[in-house]
Point group: C2
Chain length 232, copies 2
């Protein structure tokens, strides 16, 4: 017995590793600028530039790459070389081509879930990049719909449920971000399951206060999801 | 009497001006590099870089901006300055923020069409940027669905028609690009209307041979579309 028809899954850091890719690139970025500034300062300025640029560029690797270039110009007072800027573009391109590594348990769990539920992928980020990752992931064929969205707020989830013709009571969202995969889903009247990833992008952090009175499940691994759904 | 249920419309250079924005930016790009190379050479190298990068970056302004930076580094043998690279990023950001200018006749025609047909917007490019333009366009509310796709081929159109639950015989696509809005639509078994824009991005050009034996309508302005649909 289950009370859900549609199980929606986040992609980055829920199905496949993603934040670790950004972390690894950021390490190289710090090394490139090490002669100009200390690592903490570089990290802080990059994050500030990224945050400022989100409203223009949205989420994704291309915007991140432009933010790295802009930060490098600023931190070096324009002394960054053409070769170094080219290195940053190459880092971005390497991220876009990086192999898609599924998290432990994803392949078998998604396959099992697809037999009992309508699966919908709901992810933000760059359309082209996310489609490319899904195509390479080998789990794409288990999803009956793919929703790549520019922002994950309650309105977005309401629109997804409307398009999928499912009532909020029959919809559950599963993901690693409290800010994007849990809180707005609860606000839209549906259920949410949080499966934390070992690193969280600073932009996705939420305060403890934001969680007061919120009801959602937290699982250690996607392997626990089928049993939770059956019992839920 | 009409034989169509769904009228699908392209966005860039069909609903609003777009290519002119790229053309204007490219003029500034040439000026920035004028001391290194002649205009024709700059244009050719930029187009080659763009084309090469499409497979990594997809369509859109962020990818175009990264291609401008990469071309500038290459053409100057790395001598481009940080300030000049920053100028290119600023040009990209200005493009993303540029006002959305509807083509002549679009506002009233889209409004009139919405009363008789289910309108679907089908556009490629950057998800974030296209959503932002649609929101600013003031015609977004006339569309019952928005499909932002990474590539416009016959498979894409078949998927759009399946999602919209419409048979190919009841679907017509309208746009300025023979390559993206006409030929793949005919291949998918639906009808197509070509409304040329006064400039076409080189990447969208098709040969005369590709058009041999193809049946589609060509209109001078979107203003002629309602009458064509009624007579069709």
């Amino acid at each position: 017995m289950t009370r859900f028809d549609v199980v929606a899954l986040d992609a980055d850091d829920t199905l496949w590793h993603n934040e670790t890719l950004f972390t690894a690139t950021q390490t190289q970025f710090r090394a490139l600028l090490a002669r100009f500034r200390d690592p903490e300062f570089i990290d802080r300025r990059l994050y500030e530039t990224e945050t400022h640029n989100l409203r223009h560029f949205g989420y994704g690797i291309k915007g991140f790459t432009l933010s790295m270039i802009e930060t490098a110009i600023e931190l070096t007072d324009g002394a960054v070389t053409g070769a170094e800027v080219q290195r940053l573009i190459d880092l971005g391109r390497e991220m876009l081509q990086a192999p898609v590594e599924l998290l432990d348990g994803v392949a078998e769990t998604v396959e099992a879930l697809a037999e009992r539920y309508r699966l919908v992928l709901v992810t933000k980020g760059d359309l082209f990049d996310q489609e490319s990752k899904l195509a390479r992931s080998r789990v794409g064929h288990h999803f009956s719909a793919v929703e790549i969205v520019s922002e994950k707020d309650a309105r977005t989830y309401a629109a997804v449920m409307a398009r999928q013709r499912v009532a909020p009571e029959r919809f559950v969202m599963v993901g690693n971000s409290l800010k994007s995969d849990v809180l707005p889903v609860l606000e839209a009247g549906a259920a949410a399951v949080h499966i934390p990833y070992h690193v969280t992008w600073q932009h996705e952090h939420v305060t403890d206060e934001a969680l007061v009175g919120k009801e959602f499940a937290r699982l250690a691994s996607i392997r626990e999801l089928p049993a939770w759904l059956e019992g839920g």
